[in-house]
């Protein structure tokens, strides 16, 4: 492994190979066709090119584990068939390799599905790798999982564990690419590893190259939410304007062997890459910026600088790395009962008073029928989304008496019946509430709660399986 690393590293330096990493999705359900312009742009570039898709939230993985339990062939991303057929042939033709966590609870199942898809599309000779080993319930009992220290989230009581997955790092992804696989399917890894893995593979970075690992982690962090770095989730008209948001282009990073990093986006698209868009994403979901823990490196953003170097082109440098922690973080998902919600609208003259009366009727009815779980009843349109469950904001401008307001009631309960009852109290307002109530919607959904635990690295043994069309 070390000799191979050294060989790749020397080769990359001599050839001055640039790694280009494009992002095709930043969450489960992100725009399915966003990768198409990214692939078009990558196909015209010289160097080693990758397309990454991040589609695996904590809740998404828990749902996938349930599906796999019902059918061992399932449990990979239900969106695999929506994303990959749009780009698979072009990626294959141009040598663009795909790395994605669409493997979800079943990377091997996903790899088989990709091979079948290639067959359907008439693509011959595709090599697909699956990375497994993140599923703790495959190697530990539920009791053993419960015995691990909880660092964040709910206490792990006796509720059955739906999923428990460790965050793998970039090494297994680099190893999978080393087999020659064109598509790498993983389950739970850090989102940044989807980009860092290809960089380890191309540039031969090793575990002592802490500052390079840190730059690669910044690259992954900037790409992992898709268009959030290219002007999406940013636009604030008049204050922060973004051209052609409807055609927002997804990001492409260029990374050299020395860690030089530039962020741009797919050609002929809308959106914006600027210092401002990059800094917003750089700090997104970061707590202590001097100690951002990953399985590959502890990232310090303290000396990072961000500069505009051209239209829609930004350089990011100065990331520092420290050795990674001895433990791995894992997410444990448990069943959390039901969320029941109901909404109804009031519009026109005196709408606020009618909406507030409707809210008070729902509160009174919940007491009458004996709902013991906490119920939140609010009037949307009054900035209620910023209120607490039991307290409103201090600074508040009085909302206008006339207008359009929507009453919302919500409850969490271990009983589906209670969740439905609260939603039904909103429905009842049609005939038993104030004048002009309209547009009721109800939603009762099953809930997952999560806790983060720390596990010893020795318990987690990532494995790479290479599959080829027979």
């Amino acid at each position: 492994m070390l000799a191979e690393q050294l060989r790749r590293r020397i080769a990359a330096r001599i050839r001055m190979t640039t790694a280009y990493i494009g992002c095709g999705a930043g969450f489960s359900g992100d725009r399915f066709d966003a990768a198409v312009p990214v692939v078009q742009t990558l196909s015209r570039l010289q160097g080693e090119r990758f397309l990454v898709y991040e589609v695996l939230a904590e809740r998404t993985l828990a749902i996938a584990q349930r599906l796999k339990r019902e059918d061992p062939e399932q449990g990979y991303s239900p969106f695999l068939d929506a994303y990959l057929p749009l780009v698979l042939a072009d990626c294959h033709r141009h040598g663009i390799r795909i790395v994605t966590n669409m493997g979800s609870a079943n990377p091997l199942g996903a790899a088989k599905r990709v091979l079948a898809l290639a067959c359907e599309l008439g693509i011959a000779g595709l090599k697909v790798a699956a990375v497994t080993g993140d599923d703790l319930l495959a190697v530990m009992s539920q009791a053993q999982v419960r015995a691990q220290p909880v660092m964040e989230g709910i206490a792990l009581d006796e509720r059955p564990i739906v999923a428990a997955n460790a965050y793998l790092g970039a090494q297994p992804i680099a190893q999978a690419l080393g087999t020659g696989a064109q598509i790498v399917l993983v389950g739970r890894t850090t989102d940044a590893a989807l980009s860092l893995g290809p960089l380890l593979h191309v540039h031969g970075w090793g575990e002592r190259d802490l500052d390079l690992l840190a730059q690669g982690t910044v690259c992954g962090h900037l790409l992992e939410c898709g268009a959030q770095v290219t002007g999406a989730y940013f636009s604030d008209p008049g204050f922060k304007d973004v051209p052609d948001l409807a055609n927002v282009g997804f990001p492409i990073a260029e990374v050299e062997a020395d860690g030089s990093l530039a962020v741009s986006k797919a050609a002929n698209t809308g959106g914006l890459v600027s210092r401002a868009t990059v800094i917003e994403q750089l700090l997104y979901e970061v707590h202590d910026p001097h100690n951002y823990l990953t399985p590959d490196v502890v990232l310090d953003l303290g000396d990072v600088t961000v500069e505009d170097i051209g239209p829609d082109r930004v350089r990011v440098q100065g990331a520092r790395g420290k050795p990674p922690p001895a433990t791995l973080k894992a997410t444990v998902c448990v069943d959390a009962g039901w969320l029941g919600e109901g909404e109804i609208s009031y519009a026109g003259p005196n709408a606020l008073a009618r909406a507030e009366l409707a809210a008070s009727v729902v509160r009174a009815r919940c007491l009458t029928i004996g709902i013991a779980d906490p119920v939140r009843v609010e009037v949307l349109g009054t900035q209620a989304i910023l209120d607490g469950n039991t307290q409103g904001r201090r600074a508040r401008v009085a909302p206008p008496a006339d207008g359009e307001y929507r009453v919302r009631a919500a409850v969490r309960s271990h009983s589906r019946k209670i969740a439905q009852q609260v939603a039904d109290e909103v429905l009842s307002l049609y005939c038993s509430g104030p004048a002009g109530g309209a547009g009721v919607r109800q939603h009762v959904s099953s809930q997952i709660s999560t806790a983060s635990i720390l596990v010893d690295r020795s318990l987690v043994k990532p494995e790479v399986t290479l599959l080829e069309a027979s």
């Binding site: 970061v286 707590h287 961000v306 607490g388 307290q391």
Partner: protein
């Protein structure tokens, strides 16, 4: 130098993220010359006061002078977060705009971007 009192929204932008029951909110000046004023005025205590009604217990501020930007980590502010909140916004993604709207700062006019709509009332 003429100074004006404006909402933080006039001089900075922000993005909120979540992990568990903790929120982080970045505060980034539109213009670098505003940064020192923000460091002086947008304190941990003021941020905590803005989120008190949501049960926030502690705010930790990180100052990143080279970006420049600040990152605020606000403990216990998501009422259980996606795990337990009854809010429409369990992730607290809208909270960046709560901070931008509810915190006022006094800054030289030059700290507000030239084309900002906030210049209009001052011109009347």
């Amino acid at each position: 130098m003429t100074t004006v009192e404006v909402p933080l929204h006039a001089v900075a932008h922000a993005r909120a993220g979540d992990k568990g029951n903790r929120s982080n909110i970045s505060v980034i000046p539109h213009l670098p010359e505003a940064f020192q004023h923000l460091v002086e005025q947008v304190t941990e205590a003021r941020m905590l006061a803005v989120f008190a009604h949501k049960g926030a217990t502690r705010v930790t501020r990180y100052v990143l002078s080279k970006l420049p930007a600040m990152n605020f980590v606000i403990d216990d502010t998501l009422e259980g977060g996606v795990n337990g909140s009854l809010s429409l916004d369990g992730h607290g993604k809208s909270l960046s705009f709560l901070a931008l709207g509810d915190i006022a700062v006094r800054v030289p006019v030059a700290c507000i971007p030239a084309r900002s709509p906030y210049h209009k009332p001052a011109a009347d």
